[in-house]
């Protein structure tokens, strides 16, 4: 087993553990590289048939290429896809900066989705290396009934043992990719030949390293027009992955507050 095999085996265990012990269960698919790799892992875990629905928290503001890629994969992979429309921007706190408003819409959209589907578990493709508060999260991470995260009192997790029960009304965020890094995702995507949205590849000297809403996500300067070139680029860069995501940078603890309030 090489390092990607080990990562894959652990993620499959987590997916199967979630399905065995947490029902009803759903999965968020942002159509980005991470959650698409996660979908592929779920197909492996459940021998080709993902036994729960997958949802996009749809703000209507994704890039057209993202929607097109989504539709292709739903068809080809025969996904049980449920679009989850986020509440309109007019319903969220208007004093928030633009990126904060988008995050607030998704946070609300997720709350509504979890409440509507009565999910006790939501599988998400976040990783520890993306952002410092994500680095401290758990693989099975409980959220209170209002979606909030009590990061100062997290359950123990050791070996392959997780706390999989939650009180009624509360839910678990389940993070099978928590231990992966950005470059792991790309190396795995290349090895397994997993499809990904073309926006990640450079066009006219720019590419998207992280995909968010089109009004609040900026591309990076890059000549990486192939997946090999992306991997080479990541091996040498020291710029953070989410530098192009405005929502993280509007204040020092912007992302911590987003996450404590229920953001992914």
């Amino acid at each position: 087993m090489d390092d990607l095999d080990a990562l894959e085996a652990q993620s499959i265990f987590i997916l199967r553990e979630a399905y065995r012990r947490v029902r009803p269960l759903g999965m968020l698919w942002s159509i980005g590289k991470d959650s698409t790799a996660l979908l592929w892992l779920a197909r492996k875990a459940f021998v080709g048939q993902i036994p729960f629905p997958v949802s996009l928290l749809d703000t209507g503001m994704e890039f057209p290429e993202v929607y097109a890629f989504r539709d292709t994969l739903i068809r080809e992979w025969k996904l049980d896809y449920q679009n989850a429309l986020c509440p309109p921007e007019s319903t969220v706190d208007q004093t928030l900066p633009p990126a904060g408003r988008a995050a607030a819409r998704k946070t609300e959209g997720l709350k509504l989705l979890v409440a509507r589907e009565r999910w006790r578990g939501v599988i998400l493709g976040i990783r520890r290396d993306e952002q410092a508060t994500r680095a401290k999260d758990r693989i099975f991470s409980p959220r209170a009934a209002d979606g909030t995260w009590n990061f100062a009192d997290q359950p123990p997790e050791f070996w392959d043992y997780y706390q999989t029960g939650v009180p009624d009304g509360a839910h678990l965020r389940i993070h099978p990719l928590l231990h992966w890094t950005e470059i792991d995702i790309w190396r795995y995507t290349r090895r397994e030949n997993i499809p990904f949205c073309s926006l990640y590849l450079a066009r006219d000297g720019k590419r998207y390293r992280s995909l968010g809403e089109k009004n609040i996500t900026t591309p990076i300067v890059s000549a990486a027009a192939t997946i090999d070139a992306i991997i080479d680029e990541l091996a040498s860069t020291s710029a953070p992955e989410r530098a192009g995501r405005a929502m993280d940078h509007e204040s020092e603890d912007a992302f911590e507050r987003l996450r404590a309030g229920g953001y992914m």
Binding site: A9, K44, K136, P156, G165, S238, A239, A243
Partner: protein, 590 residues
């Protein structure tokens, strides 16, 4: 590139987070913009920049300059990639330390040169080998505060060597450091010319990074999926190789079957290797479910009624002798009783002190008795590692040291031991057995139905861990204590009542099948066990049968029904379930 996970531990304020941050800084890890972001944050608070702010990502952590939860961060050298796990040192956060350390291949233990060993240093030195980390590098930090004294360094080093010998941790290297300034972290120090050893980073690079998964074949069945009429057993190969055609034995049933096919998506029939997540189908249907463990013939895991284990307890509410917990070992969940605590380990002396309960953060040698069969290997095999759940919450964990076939008496306790309580109370029995003693008086039904139902229900209770007995008043009934009816009317029913009451007093769930009991017999039986008696009447399927099974009673079937506590229909599909639910409710601890 293989990742080498390493956990940084140490007593609070000995400088762990600073050391990690310095390591990252000096290996060029810092992302662009991170330093200026932190400088700005420090300015706003009017405090000097602490490089540990890099890891202490929560606002509250930076405000209080403490680490709340284990974090994980990656850096690369030419040789390999490191996953650094930075675990909090505060006493109340040991569970986060355990959460972080369980993944690590080695530890870096940070010790303040001036303060020497702290309580957490000792606790971590004890915990690390328990969670599977056997090697540690020690950074004797803040050497500037002791004037870079070689003598002070040697004294702290000697203390650590003695500690590690006691806990079974291998001391891979000791390095004198000043994390804040970078001395001997990733580059050598000019301020300690007396030290000729490696820097911390060099010492890390010298550690062997292979993750051997040796040992005989283990496959813990995680779940069973149905695909196209096939039952696919899924799980991760714990050790060994498995290929199509291999004969596997499943514990605890000891049933055997051959692997028909290794199932993967996309399909591939390569042999499965240790660590891999796979599926498999078997050549013939045997009953196998989640929690069973497959092995090769001749090298099975242990199937135990009870185990002696070293446990760490993490929950705020103490764990008392007699408490029921759920033990998850591999993928198997079994209810266990904490039968005995042979000693909780004193952190100062490492001596074992007797105790009746484990407090949060205690580490102790205990006996756990399963209410069903436990399937385990012995430490240090992976299948020796378990978690203990109290309700839904992870309360603690541990490792299996030895297995015990029977665990009725805690080892070392003697009949005249003055530390034992003077007698065993009903509460003691309830705590151990997980239920109250109870008499279930079962009559009625079509001939032969009541004894069969009693046997079924007893089996369901027994194999779920209950202590049970069936008392039957008729010669022809199979199993249980047979008390022959004789000429003396009512004597058989009353003897049954007395036997059942004695069993119930001993904590047992006794099911009595005694047709022919009179109204007076029933009153007598009920009075023997106040509050622990249920009279259950099976309504006959055919009215014509009703009289035949109740010779000798002084009540008509209708009167018998109205006298009973509960009447259930004699319907084979439902009666077992209904009676079980009834008994479980009545016997539930309260």
């Amino acid at each position: 590139m293989r990742t080498f996970p390493v956990v940084f531990t140490g007593h609070v304020d000995h400088g762990k987070s600073t050391l990690v941050s310095r390591l990252l800084l000096d290996t060029g890890y810092f992302p662009d913009g991170k330093l200026t972001e932190l400088e700005r944050a420090a300015q706003r608070r009017g405090v000097p920049l602490e490089i540990s702010f890099l890891l202490d990502s929560f606002q509250v952590e930076r405000d209080q300059a403490i680490t709340i939860d284990a974090t994980r961060i990656w850096f690369c050298t030419a040789a390999r990639r490191y996953a650094v796990i930075d675990a909090p040192g505060h006493r109340e956060f040991v569970r986060h330390m355990v959460s972080g350390a369980a993944d690590a291949l080695a530890a870096v233990v940070v010790v303040d040169a001036a303060e020497g060993l702290g309580e957490q240093t000792r606790r971590h030195a004890l915990l690390l080998p328990l969670v599977g980390v056997t090697r540690a590098i020690v950074a004797v930090n803040k050497m500037d505060t002791v004037g870079f004294s070689a003598a002070r360094y040697a004294a702290v080093k000697a203390e650590l060597e003695a500690l590690f010998v006691q806990t079974g941790l291998t001391l891979a290297a000791t390095v004198p450091t000043v994390a804040r300034d970078g001395d001997n972290v990733a580059r050598p120090s000019t301020r300690m010319p007396w030290y000729g050893g490696p820097s911390l980073l060099e010492a890390l690079e010298l550690l062997d990074g292979s993750q051997a998964r040796g040992g005989p074949v283990r496959f813990a069945v995680h779940d069973v999926y149905r695909r196209d009429e096939e039952r696919i057993l899924v799980g991760n190969v714990g050790a060994g190789r498995i290929q199509a055609g291999a004969t596997l034995t499943f514990a605890p049933s000891r049933d055997r079957a051959r692997v028909k096919r290794i199932v993967r998506f996309p399909a591939s029939d390569e042999p499965a290797v240790a660590g891999e997540a796979i599926g498999m189908t078997l050549d013939h249907p045997i009953f196998v479910g989640p929690g069973d463990v497959a092995s090769e013939i001749g090298t099975p895991p242990q199937i135990a009624a009870a185990v002696k284990a070293t446990v760490f307890w993490l929950d705020r509410v103490p764990l008392a002798i007699g408490e029921h917990l759920r033990m998850r070992c591999g993928t198997r969940d079994v209810t266990v009783v904490l039968d005995a605590i042979s000693g909780a380990i004193d952190i100062e002396t490492f001596e074992e002190r007797p105790t009746a309960a484990l407090a949060r953060n205690d580490i102790a040698q205990v006996t756990l008795r399963g209410l069903g069969p436990l399937v385990v290997d012995l430490h240090p095999a992976p299948l020796a590692r378990f978690a203990l759940y109290r309700g839904d919450a992870v309360g603690g964990g541990g490792i299996v040291r030895t297995v015990v076939a029977r665990s009725d008496a805690p080892e070392g306790s003697a009949v005249n031991d003055s530390s034992l309580p003077p007698r065993v109370t009903a509460l003691d029995r309830m705590r151990r057995y997980g239920h109250r003693g109870l008499v279930v008086w079962l009559t009625g039904g079509t001939a032969g139905d009541a004894p069969a139902l009693a046997a079924h229900v007893e089996a369901a209770l027994f194999f779920a861990g209950a202590v049970t007995a069936v008392v039957v008043a008729e010669e022809r009934a199979a199993g249980g204590a047979r008390l022959a009816a004789d000429a003396d009317d009512g004597a058989a029913a009353r003897r049954c009542a007395a036997a059942a009451a004695a069993l119930a007093d001993a904590g047992c769930i006794a099911i009595v099948v005694a047709p022919g009991a009179t109204r007076a017999d029933l009153a007598y039986a009920r009075d023997l066990v106040p509050g622990a008696f249920i009279d259950v009447r099976l309504r006959a399927r055919l009215a014509a049968d009703a009289d035949g099974v109740d010779d000798g009673t002084d009540m008509s079937p209708a009167e018998r029904e109205s006298a009973a506590d509960v009447v259930i229909d004699d319907d084979p599909a439902r009666s077992t379930r209904e009676l079980l639910a009834l008994i479980r409710a009545a016997a539930a601890p309260r």
